[in-house]
């Protein structure tokens, strides 16, 4: 029997060390990459502008015309859905204002045919989340707290992450973000400091409850 001597080349120690390092680093990198990925605005759908059937300009309606949010989205006061206004509501003004505008052609078609406009959804929560607009608005959570400066948007896009962690920030500590009712639709209202007594007073006055148990949102 011949005695065979196996000899490794000199770089094999380095390769082994790199391999060991990679076995630790690669999984860590993968996990970190995923954790970073789910926090990117791309993943959260922030800042992305959907196409819409009508080139509706919030800037114009909110900032220029000064129309209150609740004029079109009044269901936010009484329903879980804030609601997209019916074509009928659009035509309430646009039968007189810009009645022949090319941009409003889809609206007129919908009004006369009865076929609803097919808007593309901008704010989408997971199916197992039961968010309710009415309770938030009635407790002093304003529109811009979640939807951002809609008065500065052409087509609407998502500003907030809409993640559970983001929801809980406010559910755990509502004081800075609760507004007086007459400021609900204000686009310029700014959150207060955490220890501002006005926030505490409002939380007390509106009986704002720091609900963080699961069935508050998941049923």
């Amino acid at each position: 029997m011949r005695n065979v001597r196996v000899s490794f080349p000199s770089w094999s120690d380095t390769a082994f060390r790199i391999a060991l390092l990679a076995m630790v680093a690669l999984p860590l990198a993968l996990v970190s990459a995923l954790l970073i990925w789910v926090r990117t605005p791309y993943y959260e759908n922030r800042g992305y502008v959907n196409d819409q059937p009508v080139q509706f300009d919030h800037r114009h309606h909110v900032a220029d015309d000064g129309i209150d949010c609740l004029y079109c989205h009044g269901d936010a006061l009484r329903s879980k859905n804030a609601g997209v206004p019916s074509t009928e509501l659009c035509m309430g003004c646009h039968a007189q204002v810009w009645p022949a505008s090319i941009a409003l052609e889809p609206v007129r078609r919908s009004y006369y045919s009865g076929v609803p406009l097919h808007w593309n959804r901008v704010h989408k929560l997971a199916d197992y989340v039961y968010f309710d607009h009415s309770i938030h608005v009635n407790k002093g959570v304003g529109c811009s707290s979640c939807h951002g400066r809609v008065d500065q948007m052409a087509l609407d896009y998502q500003v907030a992450p809409l993640t559970m962690g983001w929801c809980l920030e406010c559910h755990r500590d509502p004081e800075p973000r609760i507004r007086p009712f007459d400021e609900i639709t204000s686009m310029t209202w700014k959150p207060r400091a955490h220890d501002d007594p006005e926030g505490r007073a409002l939380v007390e006055r509106y009986d704002v409850q720091k609900k963080t148990n699961c069935t508050t949102c998941h049923r």
């Binding site: 990925w37 992305y48 959907n50 269901d75 009484r78 329903s79 879980k80 859905n81 609601g83 997209v84 206004p85 019916s86 074509t87 009928e88 509501l89 919908s110 009004y111 045919s113 009865g114 076929v115 609803p116 406009l117 097919h118 808007w119 593309n120 959804r121 901008v122 989408k124 997971a126 199916d127 197992y128 039961y130 309710d132 009415s134 309770i135 009635n138 407790k139 009986d207 409850q209 148990n213 699961c214 069935t215 508050t216 998941h218 049923r219």
Partner: protein, 986 residues
């Protein structure tokens, strides 16, 4: 597992698991296997979720891992393209008052067997999603039966007929209505209408119009089980007039039912249930309660609630009734005379007669079921007259149902003779449900035009030249009358899904109207009434039938009729036909909720079986699932046997409604068609059947034998006397148990439930209500056999005593929302946690499916999604999904689920109250089961509402917590069942 002579059960470690039950506490069994501790039973212990039987069969672990790897690599591709956004479609013109996201309720009515019951139906964005009773309707009073609950799913059945067809080719309503509208040259002599029993005023008005346009035409009403036929004939015999009884169970101290399942099968069952329950609730020891005697053949929910029950063949019940009547001191002299009975029945009859006679005049009640012949109904009136009940508990009113101008045999005779050229069948399924000896199916060939308006391409549709889809009550206008005569308008909630129209439009065309529309037809029937108010309240004011003054005067006629009857010979096998408690006469056999609904006493699902008494099974060497050949009236049927404790010896019971051979995909080939063994004279029961064991076996899916409580005292019961003597008999089953866990803070609203076992009849309305409210999928027969059904709420049935005549306790069992919940400690991902208001929350999006929680749950109320039932089982797919409640998550594969105390209702009510700046009022939140329960056995609410019924109930001495010794501190408390037996029969 072993049990020593003391009845102490110890586990394999030798640790004593429980004390011997105290004498008042019944030691119950749930199946004959459990009672006899057979090997099958012992092997099945602990198999609650089906895991021990076999692993999931569809995908092996290896394949699963392969898929896992593949899906992970594919998951990367998902990030490459932005998902198509979902769409929002606002109304173009908002309907008056509609707010998207806020469900609305509409009053309407459902007609079954001719009688309408008022309902409130929830509409979520235009989809009907839940049926509730209408509190303003006199025969609903806010409650529902399981059939009404499940009728919602009928609407969305994908198998429904899709359009008008003429001889198999698509046609149109216009063509059909034009055909019907045509003038006839024979004054209608060849025109016949065959319809379901109905009391609809519009139907009646249009029939009148048809009769004046076609004077020669005739109409016939037919249903698989006669509705009130024997009852009205009995009243004719006893009272001299065809009258329907109006019974008052709330004023009866002693009730005797003769083959009358008044709690779940009679026309006015919701009213009877509530009235009966009012006299059965024992709020404190010593409170008076009514006593119920039942004589019946197969065990019915009424029989399970009886204080004394005598099981006899249906044909023998007349003899027992005669014996009881003869011993009443005040009975008409013609009805006296000795009746020969076996000793047990004679003792029963004597005791019942004495008990009835002891009652103050007018405070007892004898009820006779429709299955029995007219003379027994007349005898019932005789007894009620003798007991002075005719002005109190047993009164009468004019019949509500329309009477046909021809009966079915005469119609078939005319058809055979070629005298009929046009037969219009409005609903029902007569080819399936009529006795074969009538020859209806063959006679139909002699009719040129056979026009059928119905839900499905069923047995009758295949024999007809024209078929037209019938509109569901939620998609058409109509009207109907309740059992007490009250008129309700049937109001649609949704546009007809498949172009279906109601039968009254066909009648309208027959009456010569060129474009009949149901709304106009109904409106024209009620010109004087306040239409809007009638729609809103669900009833038309002042339409209730008045009571008719009655006097009994038929003693001689009854005696004469009874003289012609012959007592059945002993040991002759009787075959009994019953409407299925779940699928009724076959109209609901394509309804997955009802097919998977366990029948109240046997817990059988998906199929029917030949129910036999344990004694008969022993004599013939039969075991469950043995296939036997039943021969009756010259026809044979092979059917598996199921042994049913409490059934009369020498009787085989079969449910109608199964064995369908129509084109409905779910109904077809489930069970056997019992109707094929019937004849005209034996619609309810047939003497002289024969039974032969075939040596084959066929599996049956019973939910009864699956779970066990290992002999521990779970369902407690006592007697009225026992409760008085020892009010604290449940005291060792409640109260503090030493615990290492932190005490639960009691602040604000604290949700809890109280259930009175004395009132639970097992009717199962709550189960279907829960299924509808909480989007619970069905799993199919094969998976039920593996214990994988998903019901959040089950009704456990415990038997006590002798197998031949057992006591029965029904116990609704769902998540007990333990304050120190064992499931919560073992969940590795915090998917089940406790809320500050005392709910045990289940968080689907966290659950990873370890099933530890179910393992650790002493109540075995957690159900696991072994598969994505909503994608895997056809019965949950397609248009069925339109019935889903949008407020509840549709669960996917691999997550646990369980009763949530209807948390969506709690949170919804809290939001409403908070917005209105007020506190939640007691009774504002009702769980789905509570809302449906006909006897009001379930109370739900907050412990902080100390004045509420729910809290008062749990302060009664007989309240207890199931498995209190486990220290789980369950929030659901039960009230032990109290029976009121007659000491003479003890």
């Amino acid at each position: 597992m072993s049990a020593d002579e003391d009845g102490r059960v110890s586990n394999d470690n030798g640790l004593v698991r429980l004390r011997r039950p105290s004498p008042e506490v019944a030691s119950p069994w749930r199946s004959l296997d459990e009672r006899d501790q057979t090997a099958t039973y012992l092997a099945s212990i602990g198999d609650d979720l089906g895991e021990a039987t076999e692993p999931p069969s569809a995908t092996s672990r290896r394949t699963f891992l392969q898929f896992l790897g593949a899906s992970m690599s594919l998951a990367g591709l998902d990030g490459c393209a932005r998902k198509q956004p979902a769409q929002i479609l606002p109304y173009s013109i908002t309907p008056d008052g509609a707010i998207p996201g806020v469900p609305r309720e509409y009053a309407t009515a459902m007609t079954l067997d001719g009688f309408a019951t008022g309902l409130l139906v929830r509409s979520s964005e235009g989809r009907p999603t839940k049926v509730e009773g209408n509190p303003d309707h006199p025969t609903s009073r806010g409650k529902t039966t399981l059939l009404q609950q499940a009728s919602l799913l009928q609407l969305y059945d994908p198998d429904r007929m899709r359009g008008v067809e003429n001889r198999g080719r698509p046609s149109s309503w216009e063509a059909l209505l034009a055909l019907l509208c045509k003038d006839r040259s024979d004054a209608g002599a060849g025109l016949r209408i065959l319809a379901e029993p109905t009391a609809s005023p519009t139907f009646q008005r249009l029939l009148g119009l048809v009769a004046s346009r076609h004077p020669g035409s005739k109409n016939t009403f037919w249903s698989a089980m006669p509705v009130l036929a024997n009852t009205l004939a009995g009243a004719q015999l006893a009272l001299g007039k065809r009258l329907q009884p109006r019974l008052d169970f709330a004023r009866a101290d002693v009730i005797l039912t003769l083959d009358a399942d008044f709690l779940t099968s009679m026309e006015d069952q919701l009213v009877y249930s509530r009235d009966w329950a009012a006299r059965r609730r024992v709020a404190s020891p010593g409170q008076a309660m009514s006593r119920l005697y039942t004589v019946e053949c197969a065990l019915s929910p009424t029989g399970t609630m009886a204080d004394h029950r005598l099981a006899r063949r249906s044909a023998e019940i007349l003899q027992v009734a005669r014996a009881i009547a003869a011993q009443l001191p005040t009975i008409a002299p013609e009805l006296r005379g000795a009746v020969e009975l076996d000793p047990a029945a004679a003792r029963f009859a004597a005791a019942v007669a004495r008990d009835l006679a002891r009652c103050a005049p007018g405070s007892s009640l004898v009820v006779v079921g429709e299955r029995q012949p007219p003379w027994l109904h007349a005898l019932g009136w005789a007894m009620n007259a003798a007991l002075g009940n005719l002005r109190t508990t047993a009164q009468a009113e004019d019949p509500v149902l329309l009477e046909g101008s021809q009966d079915l045999p005469a119609l078939v005779h005319d058809m055979q003779a070629g005298a009929v050229d046009t037969l219009i069948i409005l609903d029902g399924n007569p080819v399936y449900s009529t006795p074969p000896e009538l020859g209806l199916e063959a006679a139909m060939d002699q009719v040129r035009e056979r026009i059928y308006c119905a839900d499905y391409h069923n047995e009758t549709a295949s024999r007809c030249t024209w078929v037209a889809p019938r509109a569901h009550y939620l998609e058409s206008w109509g009207d109907g009358r309740a059992y007490d005569g009250t008129v309700s308008i049937v109001q649609p909630l949704i546009e007809a899904l498949h172009g279906a129209r109601p039968p009254i439009e066909l009648l309208g065309a027959l009456a010569g109207l060129s474009a009949p529309h149901a709304h106009a037809l109904v409106r024209a029937t009620h010109p004087a009434s306040d239409w809007d108010a009638a729609l809103q309240r669900g009833v038309v004011n002042d339409t209730t039938s008045p009571l008719v003054a009655i006097t009994f005067g038929g003693a001689a006629a009854i005696a004469a009729a009874l003289g012609t009857t012959i007592a059945p010979s002993p040991h002759v096998l009787e075959l009994d036909f019953y409407l299925s408690p779940t699928v009724h006469d076959g109209r609901f056999t394509n309804n997955p909720w009802l097919l998977e609904q366990p029948e109240p006493t046997t817990k059988l699902t998906w199929e029917n079986a030949a129910l036999v008494a344990p004694a008969l099974a022993k004599r013939l060497g039969l075991a469950n699932e043995d296939v036997v050949e039943l021969v009756c009236n010259g026809r044979a049927l092979s059917v598996p046997v199921f042994i049913s404790p409490g059934q009369a010896d020498d009787a085989v019971a079969l449910w109608l409604g199964y064995g369908r051979s129509g084109a409905e995909s779910i109904a077809s080939k489930r069970g056997v068609n019992a109707a094929s063994l019937r004849t005209r004279s034996t619609l309810a029961f047939a003497p002289d059947a024969r039974l032969r064991k075939l040596g084959l076996a066929q599996s049956l899916a019973s939910m009864q034998t699956q779970r066990t409580m290992l002999g521990r005292p779970i369902a407690l019961a006592s007697t009225k006397a026992g409760y008085e003597a020892n009010p604290g008999f449940t005291s060792e089953h409640k109260g503090e148990v030493a615990s290492l866990m932190k005490p639960v803070p009691f602040e604000g609203l604290q949700w809890a439930m109280s259930i009175d076992l004395g009132l639970c009849t097992g009717c199962s309305s709550c189960m279907v209500a829960c299924q509808a409210e909480n989007n619970i999928p069905v799993v199919g027969k094969a998976e039920v056999e593996k214990n994988r059904e998903m019901h959040w709420l089950r009704i456990d049935t415990y038997f006590t005593g002798e197998v031949d005549n057992p006591g029965v306790i029904h116990q609704p069992m769902m998540c007990q929302h333990c304050e120190t919940a064992p499931c919560e400690y073992v969940c590795p991902v915090n998917a089940t946690v406790h809320s500050p208001d005392g709910l045990n929350e289940m968080v689907y999006n966290r659950c990873v499916g370890t099933r530890f929680c179910s393992n650790n749950c002493p109540y075995k109320v957690r159900r696991f999604n072994w598969f994505d039932w909503n994608k895997r089982v056809a019965a949950n797919q397609g248009s069925y999904q339109l019935a889903h409640n949008p407020e509840v998550t549709v669960r996917e594969r691999g997550v646990m689920e369980k009763c949530s105390y209807c948390v969506q209702r709690i949170r919804g009510a809290e939001i409403t109250a908070q917005i209105a700046h007020r506190m939640l009022a007691p009774g504002e939140v009702r769980s789905a089961c509570q809302q449906a329960c006909p006897t009001g056995a379930i109370e739900f609410g907050s412990l902080s509402h100390v004045e509420s019924t729910m809290v008062k109930w749990r302060q009664e001495p007989r309240s207890y917590a199931v498995l209190n010794d486990q220290g789980t501190r369950p929030r659901t408390m039960y009230l032990a069942r109290i029976d009121n037996p007659n000491p003479e029969l003890a």
